[in-house]
Amino acid sequence: MRLSRAEYKDIVRATEQLRPTRQCMKILKDRFPNHSQSTLLSIFSLEYQKRTKRTISRHHAADVVESHYQRYLNEAKARPAAPVLLEMANEVDLSPALMGRLILDRFLQDVSGEMHSKAVLNSMLKEPSLIPDQVLANNIYQCTINDCCYGPLVDCIKHAIGQEHEVLLRDKLKERNLSFLDENKLRTMGYDKTPDIILEVPIAVEGHIVHWIESKASFGDDYSHRTYLNEQFWSYWNRFGPGLVIYWYGFIGELDCQRDRGILLKDCFPTDIVTLCHTSHQQSPEKEDND
């Protein structure tokens, strides 16, 4: 969905006070019934990540961690069945999954000294039943499962969505009988930068030549688009010429301003495709073979 900057800003404003929980997502959905849930979630998620980047450091200070941990210990003791950690996270406006991580990290320090590995931590986040403390395990699980922006589950879903859209893109290309090389193929050929798709024969989308296609299963906002431009899209242009970016969950319409310089934005697989065809050219009988 192509949003105007104004529409986008409305949504962003509405997310400002929200917490990354399913309850909050419902509020957002009710507020913007005309936008798809995935678009809303994607925008919220991007905004929430920005918010987290701004504030995370203050939660990482040793004394803050300690005070969170002590508070958790106290409250969990008092109310072992209550979602203590989740409430705490929402109260201090920290992502529940990140709060869970923080507390688990601190907990492991007590259990196994300084020496616990990141891998152990991560596996416990993915699999809370591995956590030796039952109450903590429940709390951690509540945090990761309720967080819609962070956590192993969200990572997993995001990854799946990305994959699905790449598959979708490939299917659409096959449907149109367009020949292409995908990322894996390109990598084996030794390309230094690899868009999701390189068309072996370029096409024209809405009158613009397209050599490559990048699929983005997220919303294209200013920040992420700028980052992608610098790290990916221009690099693709520099190597393969003009191309197409599909933001499956929509983008800010105003960002689609580089069409003439070779970067075209769409929010779905394009329909206006012109392929190199030969019917319009006739064979000249002049070049007759005489040998």
Binding site: R22, P83, K126, E127, N138, Y141, Q142, I145, N146, P152, L153, C156, I157, H159, A160, I161, Q163, E164, V167, R170, K174, N177, S179, F180, M189, G190, Y191, D192, K193, E200, V201, P202, I203, A204, G207, I209, H211, W234, S235, W237, N238, R239, F240, G241, R259, D260, R261, V274, L276, H278, T279, H281, Q282, Q283, S284, P285, E286, K287, E288, D289
Partner: protein, 1046 residues
């Protein structure tokens, strides 16, 4: 006789003589006398380009002076040079003088940003410039009178001229100087008994002083060229230099020795004073440059309006040259004959300069009427009548040369009333020639800019020594393009500075390249990008201005190109630079030049240099036309192969010229200095061998008779020379070659010769033809100067009657969805094809062309042998039957049978769907075969109608489009789904999201209402099972899902 050494001296004397004689006439405000005028917009651009080709702060005085020096003879003589004293003063305008014998005055050169500013002269500038800055030719007539008086007192006194601000534009103001100069000139002309050509004081080299006597030319060199000039006599010296001696083609080293001398012996103090005044003048008028320009542009639309007829002096109108008033006719005829012989034999330094001079004569405006002093002298060409007579005679004689000018110039010449009245025959010839001329002035502008494609063969990891080098280069490529994009966006902004904006990044990049040892990779990228962006002829048309998207959509790239040209015409009306502009780096070339300068990386430069050199030598070996083909070169519609060959040649030539220019730039870069190097340094550098063995290349080329390719690029290479350059052996060799070349040209086709002559002419004070007119004009854009000069004349002489000068054909902008849809589809197809091949190695194109050609020709052969041959037999039977029975109109019969056969053929094809695409081809084939058959039958029957009956013959130049190799649709690995799977299972992410939702409810916190029913859970589990079973939707990373199922 003319060719012997004495002959050379004679030639120079002749040229000087002509200029001297005609200077009075030329000095008088011919509106066409544009070359004298400073042309700030375009010109400044050129200048600073030129300057910019040197290191930022350095002056190019060196080159300009050396260029001048060598050729100063002819050039310095040219009237324009003398006439515009003040113009030269500015340093900027100096280049505009046709003499090109200008001193480049570094101090007065505009800074980069100024220049950009200056270039952006808009129409509005013309309109708003203060009236007093817009003297029209008519005004100048007026002021001339005024100044004549002034001049009487102030004769030769620079002061008076300088004090008159307008004097600079006002041709009339030069008069005073000329008057005085004249007498002086005579003194000067009789050389001192102890004539020493090597004495710089006696012969200030730079054309600063031409004979000209007639007007003081103020060459100013703010930095003293040499501290002591014992014999310098400022007042005379700077106005007049004995030109004759130097003018003899500088074959000897003596002349070269003196070559470095620039500027006149004007006292430094005075020079500073002048500069200061000039500077303040400019400061007061920020847009001064444009008004100046416009002042001499009677043709800019607003101007015509403003001037009205009010200021036209009666004088002007009465001064129509008349054939009957020509005096000294026999002398003039003789002169013209001699002069033409010099041109034909190419004894003049630059034939186009001479042609330009002749045109100036033709368009000169007013005679020095009633100037007693002038009249007294034996002046063959100093009346406008005589000037025009002489010019027309020369043009008649040199018609072969003239006929090769572009259409516009020819039209203007043919329409010139003077030509018509002096020689109707010439006019008729010109009108005829117009039809044949194919030279175009502005080639189409390509707006399509590509990056250099990544080719795994040369660019992947295996081409790098280690991972670090590979990844560094990955980043460098992106930094490079980032800089390029930024430059495109911003370089025209006022105040933008290349070094300040990009210098840091570029130097950082160089450091990284050095540490990774990646220079060769980068050099390759750099050069490929350079070729891609700059190879096309003047692709640069509008550097860095990405076309407006809407406009582009409305007009298409084609229309946009036209629009650009229109814009150019309006913005830089008739900027006449004269036929010898300084070398420049137009368009994107500027970026590459600045990049090299800013990077200032010796390793990179070495890699670039080596690569350029190698590529050039390879290009130089490219096989060109077989001798037989080249003879037919004038035959415009030579067969296809010949056209292809021509195209190939011109592409090789353009590429070689571009590469050579950059090779020259890089090679001579280390020696660029603003000051003339000390003698020791000079001597040392002369001993060095330049990167390219010019002599050997040239020698080889002459032997193999390939100078047509070699010389033009050598010229580009050498045009980048430094101070010491002209002292190098190679430079002199090429100079010799020029002579040599032209002598053996007899057997080369005329246009080839013309190109060589003109590039050489350009270099040595101073263009190329396998060459058609178009290529000639691409390589020698300065040839368009003739047209401009003539147009300026027309505008000047018709402005009074409100004549419209510019023929601008209105282009209508159609909205995008209008009927152009079809055309744009075609355009799009073209772009797609281009885009496809762009990212493929060149071998693919060759293969595709080969396959397409074979398939095409075999199909045709097949079709001919089967279907067509059958049809022909049928047709012949019908024909014979009809002919037997009745006395038919054979031509009608022919057509009807042909139509019948075509129909039958097409019908047959319809039954074979695989041949669907051959309809058109088949029709053509049938027609052609039928014509042959028909003719044969008729001939056999002895009918006179056999020939040419079938005028309907179509010879389509249909190009066969290669049928790209069809790629089998991506055959991915087989997907094994359970039997009967319709791949309609839910997407994993959907299932995951649902599960997460469910789990989060299960884990709590939750409300009672949220609790799912058992059936819901069951349904979800079913969906999960289906999703897991269907391989198509599930694909990879199944393990990620495990997290849900602990």
């Amino acid at each position: 006789i003319l060719r012997c050494k004495r002959g050379n001296r004679f030639v120079s004397f002749l040229l000087n003589f002509l200029r001297e004689q005609s200077s009075p006439a030329l000095a008088h405000g011919t509106p066409a006398k544009t070359p004298n005028r400073p042309r700030p917009a375009a010109q400044t651009g050129g200048l600073s380009e030129r300057r910019a080709c040197r290191s930022a702060g350095s002056a190019t005085t060196s080159r300009s002076s050396s260029r001048v020096q060598l050729f100063s003879p002819s050039s310095s003589v040219s009237p324009g040079a003398e006439s515009d004293a003040a113009g030269q003063l500015s340093g900027v305008s100096a280049f505009s003088s046709p003499s090109f014998s200008t001193t480049w005055n570094p101090a007065s050169r505009p800074s980069g940003s100024d220049r950009r500013h200056g270039q952006r002269v808009s129409l509005g500038d013309f309109m708003t410039s203060p009236p007093d800055m817009q003297p029209s030719p008519f005004q100048s007539q007026k002021s001339r009178k005024k100044n004549m008086a002034l001049g009487a007192q102030g004769r030769g006194g620079r002061g008076s001229q300088h004090s008159d601000e307008m004097g600079f534009w006002d041709t009339g103001s030069k008069k005073p100087g000329r008057g005085g100069g004249h007498s002086r000139s005579r003194e000067q002309l009789s050389p001192p008994s102890t004539l020493n050509f090597n004495n710089l004081e006696d012969f200030p080299p730079v054309g600063s002083s031409p004979i000209s006597i007639s007007k003081p030319s103020r060459r100013i060199n703010p930095t003293p060229v040499s501290a002591e000039r014992p014999r310098s006599k400022p007042k005379t010296c700077f106005t007049s230099t004995p030109f004759t001696k130097l003018s003899s083609p500088p074959m000897g080293a003596e002349v070269l020795d003196g070559s470095m001398r620039v500027g006149s012996p004007l006292s430094l103090q005075e020079e500073r004073e002048l500069l200061k005044r000039e500077k303040s003048k400019r400061a007061q008028q920020p847009a001064a440059s444009s008004p100046c320009l416009s002042s001499l542009e009677p043709c800019t639309p607003p101007k015509t309006g403003v001037l009205g007829g009010a200021k036209v002096t009666p004088e002007l109108q009465t001064l129509c040259p008349e054939r009957s008033k020509v005096t000294f006719t026999p002398e003039l005829d003789l002169l013209a004959e001699l002069y033409c012989a010099c041109i034909s034999e190419n004894l003049v330094p630059n034939i186009f300069l001479e042609l330009f001079f002749v045109m100036q004569l033709l368009t000169s405006m007013s005679p020095p009427s009633n100037d007693a002093e002038e009249q007294e002298s034996f002046s063959t060409t100093n009346s406008v009548h005589n000037c025009v007579y002489f010019a027309v005679t020369v043009l008649e004689n040199q018609f072969q040369l003239v006929a090769h000018l572009d259409k516009g110039a020819l039209r203007l010449l043919a329409e010139n009333e003077r030509v018509a009245s002096f020689s109707p025959a010439l006019r008729d010839l010109l009108i005829q020639a117009q039809g044949k001329s194919s030279a175009k002035l502005s080639p189409s502008v390509s707006t399509f800019i590509h990056s250099v494609p990544f080719q795994p063969d040369t660019d992947n990891r295996s081409n790098f020594g280690n991972d670090k080098a590979f990844h560094t280069f990955k980043k460098q490529r992106d930094v490079f393009y980032e800089a390029l994009r930024e430059w495109e966006d911003l370089h025209n902004e006022p105040g933008w500075n290349f070094d300040a904006s990009l210098g840091g990044r570029i130097r950082g990049m160089m450091n990284q390249l050095t540490s990774a040892g990646n220079h060769s990779h980068f050099a390759r990228l750099f050069l490929k990008q350079l070729v891609q962006m700059c190879k096309g002829p003047r692709m640069s048309g509008a550097p860095g201005e990405p076309p407006d998207a809407d406009l582009l959509e409305m007009l298409g790239a084609d229309g946009l190109g036209r629009l650009k040209r229109l814009e150019e015409r309006l913005i830089q009306p008739h900027g006449i630079v004269g036929p010898c502009p300084p070398p420049s780096f137009p368009g994107h070339q500027e970026f590459f030049r600045d990049f090299i300068q800013t990077a200032s990386c010796c390793q990179l430069n070495q890699h670039l240099q080596d690569s350029l050199c190698q590529q050039l030598l390879q290009l130089d070996e490219v096989s060109i036309l077989s001798p037989s083909a080249s003879i037919k070169e004038e035959d415009e519609d030579g067969d296809m192969e010949q056209q292809d060959e021509k195209q190939r040649f011109s592409s090789v030539l353009l590429l070689a010229r571009l590469l050579a220019k950059f090779l020259g730039f890089i090679s001579f870069l280390p020696y660029q200095t603003s000051e003339r190097p000390s003698r020791e340094i000079q001597e040392a550098s002369v001993a060095l061998v330049p990167v390219l063995d010019v002599c050997a290349v040239l020698d080889n080329s002459v032997r193999r008779r390939r100078t047509i390719l070699t010389v033009p690029w050598l010229v580009e290479f050498l045009s980048m020379l430094d101070f010491v350059g002209p002292l190098l052996l190679c430079y002199r060799t090429l100079f010799m070659c020029r002579r040599l070349q032209l002598r053996r040209c007899a057997d080369v086709c005329y246009l080839n010769k013309l190109l060589l002559v003109s590039v050489l002419g350009w270099l040595f004070h101073d263009c190329i033809p396998l060459v058609d007119q178009q290529l000639l004009y691409f390589c020698c854009p300065f040839l368009s100067e003739f047209r401009k000069l003539l147009a300026a004349f027309v505008s000047g002489s018709t402005a009074k009657s409100g004549g419209i000068i510019r023929k601008i054909t209105p282009t209508s902008a159609e909205l995008k969805d209008t009927p152009i849809a079809n055309r744009s589809q075609q355009k799009l197809q073209g772009e797609l094809e281009q885009a496809f091949f762009h990212n493929q190695p060149p071998s693919l194109r060759r293969t595709v062309e080969f396959v397409a050609e074979r398939v095409g020709s075999n199909s045709v052969k097949h079709m001919k042998a089967t279907l067509v041959s059958e049809l022909m037999d049928r047709g012949e039977k019908i024909l014979r039957d009809k002919l037997k029975s009745l006395n038919f109109n054979t031509s009608k019969l022919n057509e009807s049978i042909c139509a019948l056969l075509c129909d039958a053929g097409l019908e047959a094809l319809e039954r074979k769907p695989e041949l669907e695409k051959c309809f058109f081809c088949c029709a053509v084939l049938i027609r052609r075969e039928w014509k042959i058959r028909f003719d044969r039958v008729m001939k056999a029957l002895g009918s006179p109608d056999s020939v040419n009956v079938s005028g309907a013959e179509v010879d389509p130049i249909a190009q066969d489009r290669p049928v790209g190799p069809k790629k089998k649709p991506g055959s991915e690995r087989a997907m094994i789904c359970p039997p009967g799977c319709d791949h309609s299972a839910a997407l994993p992410s959907d299932v995951l999201i649902e599960m997460k939702e469910l789990l989060s409810i299960a884990v709590g916190p939750r409300t009672e209402a949220e609790l799912p029913a058992g059936s819901q859970i069951k349904a979800l589990l079913h969906r999960a099972r289906d999703t897991l079973a269907c391989r198509k939707v599930r694909r990879r990373r199944r393990r990620n899902c495990n997290v849900f199922f602990f």
